[in-house]
């Protein structure tokens, strides 16, 4: 098989730069290979699908396969003449009391958590099966949006590889046997006041669970509750404690911030409250309609994050230099405060912060500091969890000096019920285990054997515990080292509560009875407390009844359950006062020393490894890198060139005598001399999906190099490891696909985007135009606010029964996502501008696909949709060949799983499950249009604007996707399409796309632009 990846690119940065300077070079580029005009890539992109994509690659050759199948194929034709199979229909015996109307979905407000942080969602139930997650518009962390993890929750629920039985040392056992064993073990602890009892949890924000744990500690005063979370906010907590001497958590108000500086803070993608923050941030980035004003985002970071991709100015530097930059900025702001009017600002001696040993990028930082200072009170400095506590403390001090506290940032009580230093907590547990002091260990969720720092050998010490039990969704690495494994009830199967990023209490209710008789942490704790087994609902309800002050608890409970949250439970902002005695310590920040640094980050798709067995997340192209199914060691182009590395080269990463082998992936815009690795891969005990993917970055992660390792050694091995990326697929060469400009450009010439390509005249066609008497559906996507977060991609996958295809198939370019996110770079590879562009079917007025289909399988409908009729499709793929947008997907093999029982429950009954040999593509969620049309007709009215919400639109945290009736001039989408920023992708081909884009606007600082030339 010939493949582009067998023609690796030798990186030559000097040549690339020269290439960029020539007029012929593309202004926007998608990969280094494209930029260098790589021959193999050229060949690759000019094909509709990769070469021999339709080839049957498995050991049975295509020819042989056809020989074998000849007879059965001939017979298969006859099956069309057979009669329809008989189907059964099974009514209830007694109709349920809930208002279940067969054929009508129900929505329940519930809560999903990640790292303990609650996200309020509405789970859609089709005849008792949860099939789709939508955001809860009332919930402060969601406001109707969801992230990729929430979208993928339903797949985890139905994952056939979930733990399905109580296991004792690898043998199937029963819950009752476990209870007997547990009670025996606990009985011997009773006279010791539980001195040997340990409970290990993840972050607990649940008030009920915290109460249960405290009761347990009261019952066993000598017992200890430990917490460990591999992706935690320890540094944030330590930072506020340092700055204010208080345990408080910053809560940001991006909607009030006009100048934002992010120090390695990926607040748009992976911090607590990220969906809300993205929503608030986007509020300030829309210029259409409103007066032309935008916020401005500066980002100093090492690895190119989605927040960095949104930045107006981005400074890629090593993590240690990020810390140095914080000091430079603090000093600059301190100096400005010296001459300030208010005493409060003057009293913070920021200017006395010791300067970093080497002051780099001083001009850049000085300009940023000036901009921040000019916007005192409406600016904001944010630091990310990878930065040490001192940097966090410095950012708090800067926000105090800038007068932002109380405006753009407030401080509240910590969301965690019992804030701890997770590392210290786990270390104490490991030490106790090593010393043989732990006799009964209960691990409630989490996977510490896999996720613990490598210097704490959790697995080895677990062996010394006489009675250990692990409660988890999967029989994983940790359960392999525990005596007992109890299958955990999924969040969609259990009752519970949790707090959102701002403290709001969110209630969780089950959508379905536990599929595998799983138990929730609440239920297990009840048993630990020696109480009779209690239903999850009663546990949660009992706690809140005891907390309720009012008179009508039932009404309160019903309201909370209906809304999915308890109103007015967000933490109130606290008064904080800055201690500044620590400022002198700032010099103690480890100085930037030469040598490679290693940065750990949670994976954007599998997070800390907990989603490793979720196929949707595995196959989701990661933001920026567009890798699927693997993690990689990310490097900057210059570092790769210095080390003589190329994409997919396997290197050995060695840090403090620990080493892993990892494939290299070169990321433009990555800081030099840093290697970024994502956690969560290389798991050795997971299901069929997660096995054999990626390398284990935890193997390098120690408690003193938790986020950042210094002195990394990198040794090429000469081997290659194939990575499946969607980056080069569907490339659309050197045209104005993404159109971008600056705010200033927009003010001067609002129509700049439309002037980039000549628009075809309406009469330039031979075909008669279609009359649209009722509705004409259309979509507008605002590129200025699109983060590239992937929520739309997964929402589409969940809504439309889109199958996953596996790494080998992605490698062949056969991924099935109806909606993809194209990522373009512009400018120099060392620090390019990044553009994300969601691309789905354009539903062209003059659709090139329609005219080439020999079977009329793709046709125009009365409302302007480009219909795909699966049962007419014979798989010629002419349509895809003729589609200039490459948005059609072909079922080369039987991708949809017809046989796994649990996965059958997952399917959206409103959408056909496609079979092999059929073309498919975005339908504009025609099932949702149909539902709205029927509802409107039943009520004898027309469909209201905003009534049809496509799956991608519903998930989008920034509201960048707007769908509606363009026949109605008052609709939002028609309004957006009338704005000067609106343009059609490849509209110069006279396809007249129904999906149009609003050009991307940035708001660069004129001073920095001049400096950069």
């Amino acid at each position: 098989m010939k493949h582009h990846n067998q023609h690796p690119l030798r990186l030559d940065l000097a040549a690339l730069r020269a290439h960029l300077q020539t007029a012929q070079g593309p202004e926007y580029w998608r990969s280094l290979e494209e930029l260098a005009d790589n021959q193999a890539l050229q060949e690759f992109v000019q094909r509709e699908f990769p070469q021999q994509a339709s080839e049957w690659h498995d050991p049975v050759s295509r020819r042989h396969f056809l020989q074998l199948m000849g007879a059965s194929l001939a017979l298969a034709g006859l099956s069309a003449c057979s009669r329809q199979p008989e189907e059964k229909i099974v009514p209830y015996v007694r109709a349920p009391r809930e208002a279940i109307v067969p054929g009508q979905p129900l929505y329940f407000a519930t809560t999903l958590t990640l790292g303990g942080m609650a996200l309020g969602v509405l789970a859609k139930s089709a005849m008792g099966r949860p099939i789709k997650i939508e955001g809860n518009p009332q919930h402060p962390a969601s406001l109707g949006a969801t992230d990729t993890f929430a979208q993928a929750a339903v797949l985890t629920l139905y994952d056939p590889d979930r733990a399905q039985a109580v296991m004792q040392r690898g043998q199937i056992s029963t819950w009752n046997t476990f209870l007997t064993a547990l009670y025996t073990a606990l009985e011997s602890q009773r006279f010791k006041h539980g001195a040997g009892v340990r409970v290990l949890t993840e972050t607990v924000t649940s008030p009920t669970l915290a109460q249960q744990l405290r009761t347990l500690l009261a019952q066993f005063p000598a017992a200890v509750w430990h917490q460990y979370e591999p992706v935690n906010d320890n540094t944030v907590q330590a930072g506020t404690r340092l700055a204010f001497g208080q345990d408080v958590t910053p809560v940001y108000h991006f909607e009030k911030a006009s100048v934002i500086l992010a120090l390695e803070a990926d607040f748009l993608a992976c911090e607590p409250g990220t969906l809300r923050y993205a929503h608030d941030f986007a509020q300030q980035r829309r210029v259409h309609g409103a007066p032309a004003a935008m916020n401005r985002l500066y980002v100093v970071e090492s690895t190119l994050s989605l927040t960095g991709a949104m930045a107006d100015h981005r400074l890629p530097v090593r993590p240690s230099v990020v810390a140095d930059s914080a000091r430079v900025l603090a000093r600059a702001l301190g100096a400005m405060a010296q001459s300030s009017a208010t005493t409060e600002q003057r009293t913070v001696p920021l200017a006395e912060v010791a300067p970093p040993p080497a002051e780099t990028h001083t001009n850049w930082l000085q300009t940023v500091a000036e901009d921040l200072w000019q916007h005192r009170g409406s600016s904001l400095v944010v630091a990310g969890r990878q930065q040490p506590p001192l940097v966090h403390a410095l950012t708090h001090a800067m926000n105090v000096v800038l007068g932002n506290v109380g405006n753009t940032v407030v401080y509240t009580a910590p969301v965690a019920a019992q804030p701890v230093d997770y590392l210290a907590s786990l270390r104490a547990l490991v030490e106790d285990m090593a010393a043989g002091r732990v006799e009964v260990l209960v691990i409630l969720g989490g996977n510490p054997v896999y996720t613990a720092p490598a210097d704490m050998d959790v697995a080895m010490h677990l062996a010394k515990v006489p009675f250990s039990v692990h409660v988890g969704l999967y029989a994983d690495e940790t359960s392999a080292h525990c005596h007992w494994h109890i299958p955990e009830a999924h969040e969609l199967e259990s009752w519970g509560d949790a707090r959102a990023y701002d403290g709001t209490v969110s209630l969780r209710q089950p959508l379905i009875a536990p599929l595998y008789d799983g138990k929730s942490a609440y239920e297990l704790l009840t048993v630990l407390l020696g109480k009779p087994e209690q239903a999850g609902r009663d546990i949660v309800q009992e706690y809140w009844r005891s907390q309720y002050q009012g008179t009508d608890f039932d009404q309160f409970w019903r309201t909370a359950l209906h809304d999915g949250l308890m109103s007015n439970t967000a933490f109130a902002p606290q008064e904080v006062s800055l201690h500044s005695d620590w400022l002198t310590q700032a010099a103690a920040l480890p100085p930037a020393v030469p040598g490679l640094e290693l940065l750990f980050r949670p994976d954007p798709t599998v997070w800390d490894g907990r989603f490793a067995n979720n196929g949707w997340l595995q196959e989701l192209p990661k933001p920026i890198t567009k890798l699927t199914w693997d993690n990689a060691a990310l490097l900057s182009p210059a570092t790769a060139q210095r080390l003589g590395l190329q994409n997919e080269a396997v290197v050995e990463l060695r840090l403090q005598d620990r080493s892993v082998r990892a494939p290299v992936w070169i990321v433009p815009g990555h800081a030099d001399e840093v290697v970024t690795v994502h956690l969560g891969y290389g798991r050795w005990r997971t299901g069929r999906v997660g096995s054999g993917t990626g390398f284990n970055a935890y193997a390098l992660r120690t408690s003193d190099a938790f986020w950042l390792g210094r002195g990394l050694e990198l040794r090429p091995t000469g081997e290659r490891y194939a990575l499946a990326t969607t980056q080069q697929h569907h490339s659309m060469e050197g045209r104005h696909l993404v159109r971008a400009g600056t705010l200033q450009q927009y003010v001067e010439q609002p129509y700049f985007a439309q002037m980039m390509e000549p628009a075809p005249q309406p009469q330039e066609t031979l075909y008669p135009s279609y009359p649209y008497e009722s509705y004409a559906w259309g979509m507008a996507i605002d590129l200025s606010t699109c983060l590239g977060c992937n929520a739309c991609v997964l929402a589409c996958q969940a809504e439309n029964n889109i199958p996953i295809v596996g790494k080998t198939e992605v490698h062949r370019g056969r991924e099935m996502h109806w909606l993809r996110l194209d990522r373009y770079y512009k400018g120099a590879p060392s620090n390019p501008e990044v553009y994300n562009q969601p691309v789905l079917c354009m539903h062209c007025e003059h659709a090139p696909c329609e005219v080439v289909c020999p079977t009329y399988a793709t046709v125009h409908d009365q409302e302007g949709l480009n219909d795909m009729v699966y049962n007419r499709c014979i798989g010629t793929r002419y349509c895809s060949n003729n589609c200039p947008y490459k948005v059609r997907r072909f079922n080369f093999l039987q991708y949809a799983d017809y046989h796994t029982r649990s996965l059958q429950l997952l399917h959206n009954p409103e959408v056909t499950v496609r079979t092999r040999g059929v073309m498919e593509k975005c339908t504009y969620c025609v099932q949702r249009i149909s539902a709205a049309r029927i509802q409107a007709k039943l009520e004898d009215r027309s469909i209201r604007d905003g009534e049809v919400v496509t799956a991608c639109q519903a998930a989008c945290p920034t509201g960048s996707i707007i769908f509606g009736n363009i026949n109605d001039p008052t609709s939002r989408v028609a309004h957006l399409k009338a704005t000067p920023l609106n343009y059609g992708m490849l509209a110069e081909l006279n396809t007249r796309p129904r999906t149009t884009y609003l050009a991307h606007l940035r708001n660069p600082n004129p001073k920095l632009r001049e400096a950069q030339g």
Binding site: R83, Q84, K88, P91, P102, V859, L865, D867, Y870, K937
Partner: protein, 216 residues
């Protein structure tokens, strides 16, 4: 050497070429006829059911409204099949010993549902909605036939796409006043064409013939 082919062979050849056309046409006709025959469409074929439920008796004889059992027909895509409970509303008091009803009592006692065989079963790629058809004035009888005369259930229409389109292209031929959609005996008092055209206007009936109307 004698000729291999007698001159008459020419005629035979001509006839057989012409014949091939007829044979081919005949084959095509056969396939088309088979496809529309009741063998394929299962029109008029009675299915084995757990209970020999008679619509004739319950609808024609007792005059029970369709919606007593098919409760969601006006609000949902699916008309709804009655839970065993609904049968027992009456049959807890009448015909309590009838052997025909033994499966119903058994179901109610054990909680095991009755398993019916679908008679009107559209292919899985077709998305039909009952509620909107009723709302636009399509009577039950139009598609399901005179249920009040059916001792057992069978299809009276093919439910094939061309049959759907007959109405979707010309709804005025079938539409009736909304208040009579559940009536088994309604007959137009005036010319159906005139009435239909008036109702199409009045009910704002769109002629939806796009693929995506039913397929997604």
């Amino acid at each position: 050497m004698a000729q291999i082919f007698h001159p008459s062979t020419n005629t035979i050849a001509r006839v057989s070429i012409l014949g091939a056309v007829f044979i081919l046409a005949g084959l095509l006709w056969l396939i088309a006829a088979l496809n529309r025959s009741s063998y394929a469409t299962e029109e008029g074929i009675v299915r084995q059911q757990p209970i020999q439920f008679s619509h004739e008796h319950h609808v024609g004889g007792l005059g029970i409204d369709c919606r007593y059992c098919h409760t969601s027909v006006e609000v949902s895509a699916f008309a709804g099949l009655p839970p065993t409970e609904t049968c027992m509303n009456c049959h807890a008091y009448i015909w309590t010993e009838s052997p025909f009803l033994a499966p119903v009592r058994e179901s109610f006692r054990t909680g095991q549902p009755l398993v019916w065989t679908r008679v009107h079963d559209l292919p899985d790629f077709v998305y039909f909605n009952h509620s909107i058809h009723l709302h636009k004035g399509i009577g039950c009888v139009t598609c399901h036939g005179r249920l009040d005369r059916m001792p057992l259930m069978w299809k009276t229409q093919s439910l094939q796409m061309h049959w759907c389109l007959e109405c979707h292209r010309a709804p005025e031929r079938f539409v009736r006043p909304r208040e009579f959609v559940f009536s088994m005996t309604w007959q137009p008092q005036e010319d159906q064409q005139t009435l239909g055209q008036r109702l199409v206007r009045e009910y704002n009936i769109a002629k939806l013939t796009s693929c995506s109307t039913c397929h997604r």
